[in-house]
């Protein structure tokens, strides 16, 4: 698809950037101590912190990735929303208050609060850095992807803009400026997503959705005999039943010099031919979209309801509906989803996107992406493991946990988590409507579903698109600033100050933090450029799996098992880290990325949590029991509030 730049989007984004930079410089004058830099002085109001939690947590993966996944795979995309939100329950009930009570600046502080152990300082810092970098790369690559439709600039420029802006935000006022950037971003994200959802509901559903005044593509259907004589004149067969296309269930036709690919559906006396979209990658790397160069715009956006039913009646459009009526109508209707097949012809590979009319009720239940229907034991294991990682990962993400140090009390930590649950829960409800809205409003770019939410906004006009696109960019700023604070804290506070024992004055700690932020920012820019063009959203999954496996068992056992020792905690982190990463690296998904067949991978599941989390717990228990004489630990009931 070809996007056009919007001056309004550019203006809004530049305004937001100038605003946050101005705010950062203003706050920098009040940030001279280490407390101020790493924990915003510990005096952020719980409500502000709660919304900032949402701004920190709702990354591009949430906003763009989940909406895109729902737009193409329905309910399965929303399962991520449900799992991510459930993870906040772990944070609230088990982690929030103790984290506030035990830690100072970093997640490592809390783990090490009773031990002063070099092993914990090192392993927890490594875990923090790895999780933060895994999270950081997709955000930076996403910034580069977003900048192309938004500003019309190349990928590396987008990465550099985000990297430089975020580094300035963090290096000026640390957690203070980061908090307010995340607060504004979180609040704007909630408000504007609500506006788009209201627009979706007011428009309602239609079998021919209008896209910003442009009529929806009229999909053509033709008939053919068994010998492939086409009902409509002018078409000639280029690749028929005995070709690679025919074997895959398609046929390539030509009319007026224009080649098209059609899906073959057998009937009693021949075939029905249905129009497809296709992308051909030639031997020299050139990509043709529906047989033409990208700039020609032949590859149109898709997504529509085929048979629309409301209150038992088939209708052409519903008009404005409420949220429940919207979902109910979708459930009773037939939605056209899009399948994907690859056909190799010489050195060229063609990806064919074909229509798959699917009952709405089937779309609004799991199974389109996750293999749960008639699944093997291993497929079920994979699904459960993923849901476990989502559940356990949130409360172990270092850049989320450090937000607990920015509030003045345990009660404030608790209340801010509740605000976060309300804000994030509300947003995740919105994602269902954003995703289903994209699925049925003719806005999906089949080659990149990540742009579904901004393109849905575009279908309502360029103003909303400009706002949502600039907001998506701001989303990256908010999350990346939190990640850089976490990573720079791990370097400056955990490694330099604690592990290496470099004696620094308060001003020296702030300076070390700022220099670390600049270094991490530069590394983030480098990684964002290096990973250009790669679909790296899977790294967020890595971050969750590693955090859930390496960090959460250590946190929970430290809080709830009195026999936990320093060596047990360090062993738990290392086992969680190595086992989760090791299993991921030999998984079928990675085998594909290595250019091999997924079936040849040593293991046949992608999500390691169901193995690595228990392994991490087990390592902690065994090593702690073996090292009881080292450090006796007493977990007291009464604590500081």
């Amino acid at each position: 698809m070809v996007y056009t730049q919007s001056p309004l989007a550019i203006g809004l984004f530049v305004t937001f950037v100038l605003f946050v930079l101005g705010l950062s410089f203003y706050l920098a004058r009040r940030t001279s101590s280490a407390e101020g830099y790493y924990a915003a002085g510990g005096n952020i109001h719980w409500f502000t912190n709660g919304v900032a939690f949402a701004g920190d947590y709702l990354s591009a993966a949430s906003f763009l990735g989940i909406c895109g996944m729902i737009a193409t795979a329905g309910y399965d995309g929303w399962m991520y929303s449900i799992g991510y939100l459930a993870g906040w329950i772990v944070a609230l009930f088990l982690v929030a208050e103790p984290m506030k009570r035990l830690g100072k600046y970093t997640f490592t502080d809390a783990l090490d609060s009773k031990f002063n152990s070099k092993a914990i300082q090192l392993t927890a810092a490594i875990s923090t850095l790895l999780v933060s970098v895994f999270y950081l790369i997709p955000q930076m690559v996403g910034a580069g992807v977003l900048v192309q439709p938004l500003l019309g600039l190349p990928h590396w420029v987008g990465v550099c803009i985000v990297g430089v802006v975020v580094t300035i935000i963090v290096a000026t006022a640390g957690m203070a400026s980061t908090t307010y950037v995340q607060f504004f971003k979180g609040a704007l994200l909630l408000i504007m997503s609500t506006v788009v959802v209201i627009a979706v509901l007011v428009r309602g559903l239609s079998t021919a959705p209008e896209n910003n005044g442009v009529a929806y593509h009229d999909f053509k259907t033709m008939q053919a005999t068994v010998a492939l004589e086409i009902s409509e004149p002018g078409y000639t067969v280029v690749a028929g039943l005995d070709s690679a296309y025919g074997e895959a269930g398609f046929v390539k036709l030509s009319k007026d010099g224009q080649e098209t690919i059609w899906q073959l559906n057998e009937t009693t006396n021949g075939y029905t031919l249905e129009e497809t979209l296709f992308m051909t990658k030639l031997a020299d790397g050139t990509k043709l979209f529906n047989g033409a160069a990208k700039e020609e715009g032949a590859f149109f956006p898709v997504g529509h309801v085929k048979e629309l039913r409301m209150n038992g009646q088939e209708v052409a459009a519903t008009g404005a509906v409420g949220p429940l009526a919207y979902l109910s109508a979708l459930k009773d209707s037939t939605i056209v989803l899009w399948g994907k097949k690859y056909v190799k012809e010489g050195d060229a590979t063609t990806t064919i996107y074909y229509q798959k009319p699917t009952p709405g009720a089937r779309v609004l239940r799991p199974g389109l992406k996750f293999k749960v229907d008639n699944a093997t034991g291993l497929q079920k294991f994979n699904f459960i493991s993923l849901m476990l990682a989502l559940f356990c990962g949130t409360a172990a993400l270092p850049h989320i946990l450090i937000r607990y140090y920015t509030v003045p009390s345990q009660a404030a930590a608790r209340k801010s988590t509740i605000v976060a649950i309300a804000a994030i829960g509300f947003f995740y409800v919105l994602t269902l409507f954003l995703g289903m809205g994209a699925m049925t409003n003719g806005v999906i770019n089949l080659t990149d579903n990540n742009m579904s939410a901004p393109l849905l906004a575009l279908s309502f006009g360029v103003v909303l698109f400009a706002v949502i696109s600039s907001l998506a960019f701001a989303t990256v700023l908010g999350t990346v600033s939190g990640l850089i604070v976490a990573a720079s804290g791990a370097v400056a506070h955990d490694l330099m100050d604690n592990f290496l024992g470099m004696k620094m004055s308060d001003a020296g700690k702030v300076r070390a933090g700022k220099i670390s932020a600049i270094v991490v920012g530069c590394i983030a820019i480098y990684l964002g450029i290096v990973f250009e063009g790669m679909n790296v959203s899977f790294l967020v999954g890595w971050a969750f799996a590693v955090a859930a496996s390496a960090n959460l068992p250590a946190i929970l056992m430290l809080l709830f098992w009195q026999k936990t020792t320093a060596k047990g905690v360090a062993a738990s982190i290392m086992v969680g880290l190595v086992s989760s990463l090791g299993l991921i690296l030999i998984s079928p998904d990675m085998w594909v990325r290595y250019g091999m067949l997924p079936g040849d991978a040593p293991i046949q599941f992608n999500s390691p949590a169901l193995i690595s989390i228990p392994a991490s717990f087990l390592a902690l228990v065994i090593v702690s029991l073996m090292t009881q004489k080292d450090v006796p630990v007493v977990v007291s009931d009464a604590a500081e509030a």
Binding site: Y38, R101, R365, M387, S409, G425, L559, D637, A641
Partner: protein, 88 residues
């Protein structure tokens, strides 16, 4: 070397109560979440059944998000009451 909170915290006599309450509520939510995951894994077609005019999957999804918020508010109310009572 400096761990411990960044700001000075007072003594919290309600800490033990809050911990037990948190664990109990965590277990309740985890059981509900586990049932949801188990149904999806073992009998996904059941999630297509219609409840209150929606698929069971949608009802479960809204239910889990709503339950999280309700339990969070109840937890905060009980914790705040305990803090007021035990910490004066």
């Amino acid at each position: 070397m400096g761990h411990g909170p960044a700001v000075k915290l007072g003594k919290d006599n309600a800490s033990g109560y809050k911990t037990k309450l948190g664990v109990s509520m965590f277990i309740v939510y985890t059981i509900v979440y586990a049932i949801f995951v188990a149904i999806n894994a073992t009998n996904p077609k059941a999630m297509q059944d219609i409840i209150f005019g929606q698929t069971a999957a949608v009802v479960w999804g809204f239910g889990l998000i709503g339950l999280a918020l309700v339990m969070a508010v109840v937890y905060n109310h009980l914790c705040t009451s305990a803090e007021a009572k035990l910490n004066g």
